[in-house]
């Protein structure tokens, strides 16, 4: 027995680390379509990258209207490494939004939110919304022109909430106008409040995932259900005995066990690792090549500056631009209703069918929602180029 093994045994005796590792790594996961399942782990890796680079940035950044911009400008002008770290923070946030969106679309298409995984979906939607809030609040912090005008527009959105809207806006802004208190409160929300909710929710999401197992896609269960033409197809026996968590909860027996599985380690972990490494490399290259922009310091008195929204805010921004002022509260019901429907999805679509092409009553409205977001983004994208 080597010295390292002895140390490992010593730890195992006191912490049961061996069984924890075994439990964590050796689990059956659906075999087909496994590359699509890498989106979840990629999301986690990008969130962790946010955490690490965020910690580094808090060592330099001062949340004040006089020092905030100057501290980041110092990084830009005099600290090449710090500048790259800030670039990684920005680009990993952008890519995180894209990846988490894809992860949700994949889950929606595959019907993975159905019983018994309803709470996986609900926590996932919560995580998506929290990441969006992180991105929006993060956009205020550089306190350059773009940040200031983003703050003006975004802090005004809650004001359209009936009855308490003005109160929420005043609470966030720290008064009637965007200013020093807005920045310090937003900084607090960005680095403390949201992470304090985000990380426990990630743990809950992962715990639920381990409990119920990865559903994967209906293709993993093909043949295990009655075909549409009315011919009963006998279930194909699995390649090897399915271990927990399959079958999960015996409420959904036709769908509980995928036809082909493989071990989480090394098969799935290899794919997860590869995708995550590629994404991190892409983030690094973007951070080096493009970096994080920093416009001139915020000047509320300017009349010549044309604000351009962050790309992920573009659909909502375009909606606010299109709708006349007096109808904005009505128009905001659409995204608010969309979020509520998203949360309620597993409780609305409760049938056993998982095939996206056999669930038109859910897929078509979902497709509309995605199309509306794409169209609003496209319509607003002309302003990004500012030609």
């Amino acid at each position: 027995m080597g010295r390292l093994d002895a140390v490992y045994d010593w730890f195992d005796e006191r912490t049961a680390v061996r069984s924890l590792v075994r439990k964590g790594l050796y689990e059956a996961v659906p075999k087909r379509g496994a590359w699509f399942y890498t989106l979840g782990s990629a999301t986690l890796v990008l969130i962790l990258l946010q955490l690490v680079t965020g910690i580094f940035l808090t060592l330099v950044y001062v949340p004040s209207v006089t020092e905030g911009w100057a501290s980041l400008n110092y990084l830009k002008q005099h600290d090449a490494f710090g500048s790259i770290v800030r670039g990684i923070h920005l680009w990993s946030a952008y890519i995180l939004l894209f990846v988490i969106g894809l992860h949700m679309v994949r889950t929606f298409f595959s019907g993975s939110y159905k019983r018994p995984r309803e709470l996986n979906w609900v926590t996932g939607v919560g995580l998506f919304l929290l990441v969006l809030v992180m991105a929006i609040t993060g956009a205020f912090l550089p306190w350059d022109q773009a940040a200031y005008w983003t703050a003006v527009v975004v802090t005004n959105v809650p004001a359209y909430t009936p009855f308490i809207g003005s109160f929420i806006r005043a609470l966030w802004r720290g008064g009637d106008f965007v200013g020093p208190i807005t920045l310090s409160r937003t900084f607090g929300i960005h680095v403390w409040l949201i992470p304090a909710i985000l990380f426990p929710l990630i743990l809950a999401h992962l715990a639920l995932l381990r409990k119920h197992g990865e559903f994967g896609s209906y293709v993993n269960y093909r043949g295990a259900y009655r075909s549409r033409e009315g011919v009963d197809v006998p279930p194909v026996p699995p390649q090897r005995p399915i271990e927990p968590p399959y079958p999960a909860v015996p409420t959904d027996e036709l769908w509980a066990a995928p036809l082909e599985t493989e071990d989480f380690f090394p098969f799935q972990t290899f794919k997860d690792g590869l995708v995550s490494v590629v994404l991190v490399i892409v983030v690094f290259l973007l951070a080096v090549a493009i970096g994080a922009p920093l416009e001139p310091i915020a000047d509320p008195s300017t009349t010549s500056y044309t604000p351009v929204p962050e790309w992920f805010f573009l659909p909502l921004d375009e909606l606010l631009l299109l709708v006349p002022q007096q109808l904005i509260p009505l128009a905001l019901i659409v995204p608010a209703g969309g979020v509520l429907l998203l949360l309620a999805l597993p409780f609305i679509d409760r049938g056993p069918e998982r095939n996206p092409f056999e669930r038109p009553a859910v897929m078509v409205p979902g497709g509309f929602a995605v199309l509306f977001v794409i169209i609003l983004t496209l319509l607003g994208s002309g302003r990004l180029f500012n030609l």
Partner: protein, 456 residues
């Protein structure tokens, strides 16, 4: 010989009476009518071909995923349609360009080709790409049955080529309304109305082909002799309508955005559409949109009721909602031909105060509310119909439903012609907004080159 002797003097007389060159400057209205009507026919056919080039491959993919033969038959039919009608559409396009545009508006054509050279160059090649892919896609249907993935990939390329073709011509059309600095091709491609017009037309073409499928299948359903054919045409007609209306319900927001860009970048055109001479036509357009949503919802309700499927009752309620919304949308704002006429007569006040203004017809908030209501009710109608579809037995439809499918295609054609009329006339008297008028560019007279030999 006798016949020739008879015809020769006639030809000679005709030659003496015909103008030596294109009849420029003599009858501008006549030229406009000729070009406008031929363009309308071209767009009506080209829109179908483009829509079919995008929808056909999508239907084939759906059929593959759902393993239903009906989709494959429908997609194959669309392939046949493209191969038949591509040449017809192209003939009209070539006639338009080589004869009418160059002959009547040569100055304009030379200018626009010079400015939009790259988009038109790409456009020309997308035609080659589209027709090549369309023929390959159609004629390899059976040979590639064992390689469906490859066949669907060819279809995907056809869809991309069809989209690119529409996009490139939209760059030119949008430039004519909202011109930018012509020296920069990127600015040209990203001119203010380029995106909204492209989205508007792409979605519109997809909706249009859906409604035409519905009408075509309705006719075939009525004539069908076998149970299988009746079931197929009943299903395909419903599919076409469902697809068409699903695309159309995106149009209020896209169209509104397009109008907003026109307001910001071509105010004169916007004013003419909203308050000027084109405002009655615009009112007809928004009413027509309501009639389209209403017709589709009535079809949904009737089709579900025929088989006693669930949801027909609620769809009837939605139809009532659409009637009320259409009545709201159809309210005129100024009770005179133009707002300027009302204002100059000193009657710019509500009608209950003796004026000619109807506040219920204002764009903000009433027409915007009507557009929101159209969209939301139509989404609900589509979802409710989809929920009820498992209870439908295909082939059992009645003639009433088929008439509604045919009516839908008529309404769509009316809508497309109306939109084209509004868009083209909103620029008048300009061909390129603020830069070139119809009258101003007809002063080009060809000069006769001297013969190289120097003699006659």
């Amino acid at each position: 010989m006798n016949a020739l002797a008879l015809i020769a003097p006639l030809l000679e007389r005709l030659a003496g009476e015909l103008p030596a060159t294109a009849p420029q400057g003599h009858n501008i209205v006549g030229a406009q009518i000729a070009i406008g009507s031929l363009f309308s026919i071209h767009i009506l056919i080209a829109g179908l071909v483009s829509g079919a080039g995008e929808l056909g491959p999508a239907i084939e993919f759906l059929g593959f995923m759902r393993q239903r033969r009906g989709y494959d038959r429908l997609a194959h039919g669309l392939g046949r349609f493209i191969t038949y009608y591509f040449s017809f559409s192209s003939t009209i396009a070539i006639l338009l360009i080589t004869v009418l545009l160059v002959g009547f508006w040569g100055h304009f054509w030379t200018t626009i080709v010079t400015i939009a050279w790259w988009p038109l160059f790409i456009e020309a090649w997308t035609f080659v790409l589209q027709v090549s892919l369309a023929y390959i896609w159609y004629y390899t249907w059976d040979p590639l049955r064992g390689f469906k993935g490859l066949h669907m990939a060819i279809g995907g390329l056809l869809a991309i080529a069809s989209f690119l073709q529409v996009y490139m011509i939209d760059v030119v059309a949008s430039y004519m309304l909202t011109p930018t600095t012509p020296q920069n091709p990127i600015r040209l491609v990203l001119n203010a109305t380029s995106y909204p017009l492209t989205v508007h037309r792409t979605v519109g073409n997809l909706a249009y082909i859906g409604f035409v499928i519905g009408a075509f299948c309705a006719i075939r359903f009525v004539r069908a002799k076998t149970v299988q054919d009746k079931a197929f045409y009943d299903w395909a007609g419903s599919f076409g309508l469902l697809w068409g209306i699903s695309m159309t319900l995106l149009q209020p927001i896209v169209g509104y955005s397009y109008a907003k860009e026109i307001q910001l970048h071509a105010y004169g055109s916007w004013y003419k559409m909203m308050l000027g001479t084109l405002s009655p036509v615009f009112l007809w357009q928004i009413t027509l949109l309501g009639l389209m949503f209403l017709t589709a919802t009535i079809y949904f309700a009737r089709r579900l009721r025929t088989n006693g499927a669930r949801g027909a009752g609620l769809l009837k309620v939605m139809a009532v909602g659409l009637v009320l919304t259409t009545l709201l949308a159809a309210q005129p704002y100024h009770l005179g031909f133009t707002y300027a006429a009302v204002a100059s007569a000193g009657l710019d006040r509500p009608f209950w105060e003796g004026g000619l203004i109807n506040p219920l017809g204002s764009m903000i908030p009433w027409k915007v509310l009507a557009l929101m209501s159209y969209t939301l009710i139509a989404i609900a109608a589509v979802v409710w119909y989809l929920r009820g579809l498992p209870g439908v037995v295909w082939g059992a439809a009645r003639r009433g439903e088929q008439r509604l499918l045919m009516l839908m295609a008529v309404l769509t054609i009316l809508m497309m012609v109306t939109m084209g009329f509004i868009r083209e006339n909103s620029r008048a008297p300009f061909l390129i907004s603020g830069e070139m008028t119809i009258q101003g560019q007809q002063n080009v007279q060809p000069t006769v080159s001297p013969s190289p030999s120097g003699g006659g």
